[in-house]
Symmetry: C2
Subunit: 348 residues, 2 copies
């Protein structure tokens, strides 16, 4: 039988009765909130970025987009914000209300349940937007569009967004054993040929932790978004990359991750964090794209390519990703080892 997590029922249920409006309902899972709160890289980066800019938060009106359990709202309130408005469409916000009250912050934090586009905020403009909107591969199932809506409709001229800079990075990866097992499994499933699954396996990016020692090329920044100016159409991007092999090895796929930077209005060092294989674990892990080819590389061989990322036409929460690559091997057998390819992926 199929075992799937239950999608947040708040998005499925049309009407909420009185009980459900006031209390966290039985249909909500707290596990995802536990995972996010226990991700200390994520949560402490927000706390540090806010605490470090205490002087800036002082007396300001703050909007927390997708506030969840209210942790970022409470960080802002504790660091001097005049008033924080937290908005979330999930019933988790009913738990957030209890927690905010328990922690004596009800006079400083107003929590509103609903879509940001629908709720009526008690202010026409806010001074600061805070939001933890990032998804896997930064953009998958992200809430960035809602953050940009908040910016365009509520952020005062010169207001700040925490965080406001994010970038996606890519590198080459050796992963022969796992890639082989993952693909070969379908060749012989209890004596039956299940190979029609192989193209599906190949086009599904893997969200997983990768050993940094398996990264075997230089890295390359694919794209950077400045949240102060980026628009929704910009999120459908097309970027070139150029990677150089660091050793004799196989490049079986590409690994990607994102980096985050918070504003530093007082001129101090900005708070940043990375979700790369070189950095401390986060619940975003890394995203791996297996290549059709296993590229046999020597040190300094060049892997050039282009990555295109677009929302899927049929389901705009999914991402269509295309990677075109040109591996140029050098040396006496360089011609033999060189490969060109076009691989398509669907993040769903």
């Amino acid at each position: 039988m199929s075992k799937t997590d239950v999608t947040d029922s708040a998005t499925q249920k049309k009407e909420l009765n009185e009980y459900e409006q006031h209390y966290f309902t039985s249909y909500d899972h707290f596990g995802i909130h536990e995972e996010m709160l226990q991700d200390t890289v994520r949560t402490l980066s927000y706390r540090n970025a806010i605490a470090q800019n205490k002087d800036f938060f002082k007396g300001k009106v703050v909007l927390d987009v997708g506030c969840g359990t209210g942790i970022l709202s409470m960080f802002a309130a504790k660091n001097g914000a005049k008033h924080v408005i937290g908005v979330d469409m999930s019933s988790i916000i009913e738990m957030a209300k209890q927690i905010v009250e328990l922690n004596g912050l009800s006079d400083k934090i107003t929590l509103l349940r609903g879509k940001l586009e629908d709720v009526v905020l008690p202010y026409k403009k806010v001074d600061i937007i805070i939001s933890e909107w990032m998804g896997y591969f930064l953009l998958y199932e992200s809430m960035l569009d809602t953050v940009l809506y908040a910016r365009d409709n509520y952020l005062v001229e010169g207001g700040l967004i925490f965080p406001d800079k994010c970038s996606i990075h890519i590198a080459g990866l050796e992963d022969s054993k796992y890639k082989g097992e993952k693909l070969n499994f379908w060749q012989d499933v209890y004596g039956f040929d299940y190979s029609p699954f192989i193209p599906l396996v190949k086009r599904e990016p893997l969200v997983d932790t990768v050993e940094n020692s398996s990264v075997n090329t230089t890295k390359c920044k694919l794209i950077e978004f400045d949240l102060n100016t980026v628009t929704i159409p910009d999120l459908a991007f097309h970027s070139k990359f150029k990677l150089q092999a660091k050793r004799q090895d196989f490049i079986n796929g590409l690994i990607s991750w994102f980096d985050i930077e918070f504003p530093a209005p007082k001129g101090n060092k900005p708070v940043t964090f990375s979700t790369g294989a070189h950095a401390t674990y986060t619940h975003w892990k890394q995203t791996v794209f297996y290549l059709e080819d296993d590229l046999e590389c020597e040190a300094n061989d060049i892997l050039e390519g282009e990555l295109t990322c677009l929302p899927n036409k049929d389901n705009n929460r999914d991402l269509d990703i295309k990677i075109v690559y040109n591996f140029k091997a050098s040396g006496p057998d360089g011609k033999e080892r060189s490969r060109k390819g076009t691989n398509t992926y669907l993040m769903h």
Copy 2:
């Protein structure tokens, strides 16, 4: 942001266009099928049960309820079935069709997409029903009701169901460290009191693997279902249990699991498997119910109780589980250590 698996879109989409009717769509995840196929205890038990009863399958009409990728249908076809009908409402059945054809079994296997209650079978009666319908804690999100519908509407008098016997078991568990961490986390979340989450953590059964060495009481069979005769109302059950502590320890919770048995019409030894902590890993793992109390036990102390399991009124795919217990400690400090309690849980 929330990260939830995408629920099988087949259950969400009302209409299917022509393309979607004929091909596995981009919205379906194969990961759950990979996990189930790679569960060798599960899959080989079905294969062995069918292969061992080859003589019985010979020339028979078989119905595979919730056929998924078609593996059980192919086992039946390879072992002499005259015709196998596989039914599944998920679009995974489009992959099953490709696989069945690739393996040269299209003349023996007919795959129908839809709810069993809606599809028109090419036979009025079938000789054998096969189905892998089991969920966590046996009954959570299980397809057993559909199997019973198939039995009542399609199974010939004297026909067999593979498997046909299943039982749920319970025992005491020492798990102080993890239970403590799981509950204490919410006492201080980055300096804030998140204790309103604690009752939610307590009422959520955990699906996880447990070390058999942590099981510290005798075990007890809660209930057994005979699929030949059980009815849907029987699945809402109430059972007593009596467990005896095996050593001086803490009983922090109860662990439950299920066992499965296949028919053996030719008188040979039935194929069975267990999902208990004492048995080989399966993707069903075990289900843990933390008790409100941490019971300080000595060898031979008695933990008696009653477990009630009912479908949740608001969402009948969820289970309401109630455990009433009476821990009777003996010895000079027995009175002090004895505890009574009533704990309620929601599997969702």
